[in-house]
Amino acid sequence: LPAGLSQWFPALEVLDVSGTGLTEMGTELLSLPCLHTLLAKNNRLGGPGSLPKGLGQAPLARSLRVLNLSGNRFSEVPPALLQLRGLRSLSLGGNRLHGIPPDIQELQSLEFLYLGGNFITAIPPELGNLPSLRYLVLCDNKIQSIPPQLAQLHSLRSLSLHNNLLTYLPREILNLVHLDELSLRGNPLVVRFVRDLTYNPPSLQELAGRTIKTRNVPYTPSDLPESLVRYLSLASNCPNPKCGGVYFDSCVRQIKFVDFCGKYRLPLMHYLCSPECSSPFSSASQSSTSQSESDSEDEASVAAHRMQKVLLG
């Protein structure tokens, strides 16, 4: 960036330096108090010094709303970027990212996050802590699974997951009430009924914990060591509506198919409290069709209501 930029244009609000071959953006940025949009796509940014030091203390940290760094050479999200607290829209599409830092949750105002076209293999659960996020693009990466915490993105309207390595989705995805669009094509989604047969039987501690929870055995923090009080608070509810039981660490992973709008069958991962806790038809039926029809009727009607447009393919 040319030296003296902030002296010549102190009222600068939009700066577009895309396609200029920039390798770093220096301290000139720090003195632009009105800048709300910075477009720097298709450059050679990505090395140290791509973003100036002291970004978190600069006026930019509060004023910047839109940052486009797509088509550069970032192999990690620069930590300085996470100090831009006012950021609403961030694009790092077409870079060389291998992951997403958990501190992404610092960007509490984020509404639009584009991370398509990178080498991302996993998603941190902290990504679910962005309450204003409406549009999340993760397409064209190497993602193998979605953490259930993404279901906490209650503002999410559009989720792009196409061309990844997903075999199933967490069932919590059904909780995204405002999700209008979901793209899943180009993933090796499981199409046949799968049951994980490696079930580790619950420990005595787990069995005791389950009994306390399901029979509502009363206790106070003074009755138990702190570690057990904490343990009891981690109980998860078995999603089988006919069960009502809980589990702690020992659970069965099972893939169930849920019909959306009577058209698509999505494989969702369920955690059940025991192998017996699946459908009445579980042992008898080998056919995935009857299995999913009987199990997922309730879920299917809920899902059909909530997800109107599933762009599977």
Partner: protein, 195 residues
């Protein structure tokens, strides 16, 4: 459409002229697919002429009506943000011309699924369409998916459909199951359509 005896070689020097010549061609009883395709391709995209129709949406691609061809055709501009793509769809027995005005689009052709489709749909071919190139498809050729696979550049395309249609089928690539959908316009004649 059938081949008329004489095929004109048109050169549209502006978007306005393109529309004018299209009206002329479609006023006839018989229209040639090759003629329309050549005409569309002859127009050299000039953003100043179509920027007013190019309204982008953050979440998905938009359809912006430019001209309704006296009922004979619909001419519209589609705006594709980074990563935006369509589902696999048919063209309701109409002719579809697609010209790239800006950026690039990837077109993937698919075979029609078997009657009671129950398997992965068969990809026939795919290609990258460049600026000013004009592609053509109809139901007898097959189905297609159109996508802007760029993560850095938006894309804009000019589409002509004849006869006009407002519903089509979308297909699930994994199963071949189809589903009828109604399409809407994001804007018409440069004005945002209120939903």
């Amino acid at each position: 459409m059938e081949q008329p005896v004489q095929t004109e070689t048109w050169k549209a020097r502006s978007l306005e002229e393109l529309v004018r010549i299209l009206h002329q061609i479609f006023a006839e009883d018989k229209v040639s697919v090759d003629e329309v395709q050549a005409l569309m391709e002859s127009y050299e995209s000039n953003p100043e002429e179509w920027l007013q129709y190019a309204k982008f949406d953050q979440y998905r691609y938009t359809r912006n009506l430019v001209d309704n061809g006296n009922g004979k055709f619909n001419l519209m501009i589609l705006c594709w943000g980074e990563g935006h793509g369509s589902s696999i769809h048919d063209h309701t027995d109409s002719h579809c011309f697609m010209k790239i005005l800006q950026g690039n689009l990837k077109e993937t052709l698919f075979e029609w699924p078997e009657k009671k489709g129950n398997g992965e749909m068969t990809k026939k071919s795919e290609r990258a369409l460049r600026e000013n190139q004009c592609a053509y498809i109809n139901d007898s050729i097959g189905l297609h998916r159109v996508e802007n696979i760029s993560h850095t550049e938006p894309a804009v395309s000019l589409h002509l459909y004849s006869p006009p249609f407002n519903s089509c089928n979308t297909f699930d690539q994994r199963t071949g199951h189809k589903h009828k959908v109604t399409m809407t316009f994001y804007s018409q004649f440069g004005e945002r359509t209120v939903c």
